[in-house]
Amino acid sequence: MKETVGATGLILNEPLLWEKGKKGRCGYSLPRRDVESFLLDNELTGECPDFPDLSEVDVVRHYTRLSQWNFGVDTGMYPLGSCTMKYSPKTNERQAGLSGFAGAHPLLPTGLSQGTLKMMFELERYLTEITGMDATTLQPAAGAHGELTGMLIIHAYHKNRGAQRSKILVPDTAHGTNPATATLCGYRSVQVESNENGILSAKAVADLMDEDTAGIMLTNPNTLGLFEENIREISEIVHSKGGIVYCDGANLNAVMGIVKMGKIGVDVMHLNLHKTFSTPHGGGGPGSGPVCVKKHLEQFLPVPRIVEEKGNYAFSDNYPESIGKMQAFHGNIGVMIKAYSYIISMGPKDLKMASRLAVLNANYIKESLKDTLDLAYDRPCMHECVFSDEKQKDDHVTTLDMAKRLMDYGFHPPTVYFPLVVHGAIMVEPTETESKEDIDKFIEAFKAIADEARDAPDLLHNAPGKSKVRRLDEVSAARKPCLAG
């Protein structure tokens, strides 16, 4: 193995929190007591919680060491398909940390919270514009939560028309959240097969769409990184049967400023601010999943809505058809501020450029690796491309082996084994923030790994070798769960 980005360094071991510390230590400056004690009835009080006592230094070393066991976008290329792991600009963190934003109580009188309300009002407008829809709610806390909001809106729409429906169409390339969300709303998912080109044909939709079907949940571009070319025709078919077209906006990063979903037949869609709009993923959240709708669905959006009058912003609950509330307060404001900062830092031209470069990067990887890895659909892709381990079959090396070996080369693996329609899928989404040099190193690494697969497959079977731990026993973790220490 030539010298690669991946190297071993001095990684320090660190025990669990409660395996260190000593009773009587403290990592916190207890605020001054300036009032007397008022005893609370013994019946009501309990023992101290069984937390370890640690000094501030104990805590700082503990989490600094833990952080060093993690790979983040700031560490290196993180080409997780469908997750859009783009760089999260640092200035956005600064803005979200401003005391006026971070310190504000959610139920302050609106006269005292004009700054945040203005930010939210403008962000709603920007997202509405980018998607070509008519109205937006920022309340949902994550992508799947946005999906649930969208489905509840569809449910409310059909109920309002006096004829609830029982099914919803979901393509075979869909994220697992789509059918799970449909179930939460009482809809039975009906799977639509994609065609030989990896996209939906109008006929497949027409064959399944009927007046007991609430609509279709599609992702565009879809999870194979392909644009759903028949979307206009599909929308017409769904609409002609009284259905609603839902778009999962997970892959919006491919088409900002290029396609407006609201203009090509989509009625409701959710976005992921933590994907398209650069807010960090935080090791699994918090995200933010705004939902944009066309006019005929606006009345169902969650409350409170933000309204503006002569430059003054206020909340309004006066929407009797609203589905209600998706979380206690107004959504993940801290995340919204970062997305808002991103949008106004980029401006219209660079947002479009971001999509163009994301697509260029993906196509460059697709062309550069298609002789090394089997390409599931050999056609121009959007912001991600899907390979498989078909070519490595005879080497007895799997997608998982190659993914684990990539770590040794200094890269986070792509999304693997998804979408389900491609056996052994390897889904690569570089995003626009990766430079040509870094992508070249990634391509080189994959080629070297394919050579190793042929010449020294055990290197892959035993990978990763440079990480803090080696492959973990996930089977016993699930059989005999140990969820707390």
Partner: protein, 443 residues
């Protein structure tokens, strides 16, 4: 643009490899009638320095401490956050990583979440806790749905002293399911009235919040007995996690599922979000839990390590048969809470909780002395309800001008409580602040 690394030379050589003349050529699969003809109507790009002044101006238009004295809790609490906690939380290896699907390069997040699950379970007196949820309200909705799954019954009862906004979220989640949500009324002492339970049958669960929305500490032991008699699961809910530094935890009082909001544990209020939904249960219900779980295991060399586990409950494996559609936790918020709990520690968290209780009690007594009526006599933690005389609206507005927010008017949520205000005092409020507040309203 500083986030886009491509030079025109890069673009040219990449296009050559791809075999396209220009970038537009890469979009050839998009039908022409789908391509947007107009530029996006968005403001022009700002420089980093213009952004700073734009955002500072917005931030300055917010009323926050120390400028303002905000005597308001109601599900969002001001607590001091140690600089070390904020600093650690900013470590970009934590911030810029994804859900830890690849455990070998995600042990930091995984061990931290395992530790969070453990501390959360210990705080609440339960056996297992999830890796976190969106917020307290969605954690409650998911808990109730979980109870329906476990019991296969279609009706739940919730106390009307659960946060009104949480109950709205529950109604929204339950609307399409056909499951019924019944609300239990409250008594004059500010506690839930369980008498109505006698007439209810076939209940999947009964949910009670303690301290409840009025700040009153519910008698969970008594509640448990009544709920057991109905063969329903006992769910307890909370909005102020810090209270369990002092109060008996819900697990020791018989709760089957505990859920609520962990924002108090080191997470800034941020106008209500991001927050921290906490959810814990007895071990026997582990496989019915919604959301992410981290478990301990070993690697090939027998070294301790951590992985996401019990994924067969989840949407990416089970699709339409999953226990929920949740695809993530609020990982960074759970990390914040773990760092906070580790920093404050078992000994000091009790002192901190006592300080919260005592300060709130001080204000309560001072208001009483000043002739105001405390609405409910039951013991409270750091919030309580006070009845101000008719016409207090104008005093409230005058106080706003003096940068004092005199609590939350309850009439919007409980129309029968016009003139009643929910006040909150945490460790951040000094005796001087409280004295000044009482002086102002006595005028």
């Amino acid at each position: 643009m500083r986030y886009l690394p491509h030079t025109s030379e890069d673009i040219k050589s990449m296009l050559q490899v791809v075999g396209a003349d220009n970038i537009d050529g890469l979009f050839s699969t998009i039908p022409d009638d789908c391509i947007s003809k107009d530029d996006l109507q968005l403001p022009d790009a700002l420089t980093e320095w213009e952004l700073d002044s734009h955002m500072s101006a917005l931030s300055d238009a917010m009323a926050v401490s120390p400028d303002y004295k905000v005597f308001m809790g109601a599900g969002s609490y001001e607590h001091y956050i140690p600089a070390s906690a904020s600093f650690l939380l900013g470590r970009s290896e934590f911030v810029t990583s994804y859900t830890p699907y690849q455990p070998e390069v995600s042990q930091g997040t995984l061990q931290a979440i395992y530790e969070y699950q453990t501390l959360a379970a210990r705080l609440l007196g339960m056996e297992v806790a999830t890796a976190s949820h969106y917020d307290g309200a969605t954690a409650l909705a998911e808990s109730l749905l979980m109870a329906v799954r476990i019991s296969k019954k279609r009706k739940v009862a919730v106390s009307s002293l659960i946060h009104p906004l949480y109950r709205q979220v529950v109604r929204t989640y339950f609307e399409p399911t056909g499951y019924q949500v019944i609300e239990l009324p409250y008594l004059n002492n500010g506690l839930t009235d369980f008498d109505g339970l006698d007439e209810l049958n076939d209940l999947a669960a009964v949910a009670v919040q303690s301290p409840n929305f009025f700040g009153c500490i519910e008698n969970l032991n008594e509640a448990e007995e009544k709920i057991r008699n109905k063969d329903a699961l006992f769910i307890t809910c909370f909005t102020e996690a810090l209270s369990y530094g002092l109060l008996k935890n819900p697990g020791s009082q018989g709760a089957d599922i505990v859920c609520g909001e962990g924002q108090s544990l080191g997470i800034p209020r941020s106008f209500g979000g991001p927050a921290l939904g906490m959810l814990a249960s007895r071990k026997k219900y582990m496989r019915s839990l919604p959301g992410r779980l981290v478990g301990q295991t070993k690697d090939l060399d027998g070294k301790r390590g951590f992985v996401l586990t019990l994924a067969t409950r989840e949407q990416h494996i089970r699709r339409e048969k999953a226990t929920s559609n949740i695809c993530t936790n609020n990982s960074l918020c759970a990390l914040a809470a773990a760092i906070y709990m580790a920093s404050v520690g078992g000994t000091e968290i009790k002192k901190l909780a006592e300080l919260n209780h005592d300060k709130a009690e001080y204000l309560k007594q001072e208001l009483k002395k000043a002739g105001f009526k405390i609405s409910f006599e039951s013991p409270t933690f750091n919030e309580f309800v006070v009845e101000f005389p008719a016409g207090f609206d104008s005093v409230y507005d005058r106080l706003l001008e003096k940068k004092i927010v005199a609590g939350l008017p309850l009439a919007e949520y409980y129309p029968e409580l016009t003139g009643h205000y929910l006040l909150c005092v945490t460790e951040t409020m000094s005796k001087n602040d409280m004295d000044a507040f009482v002086r102002e309203i006595k005028l």
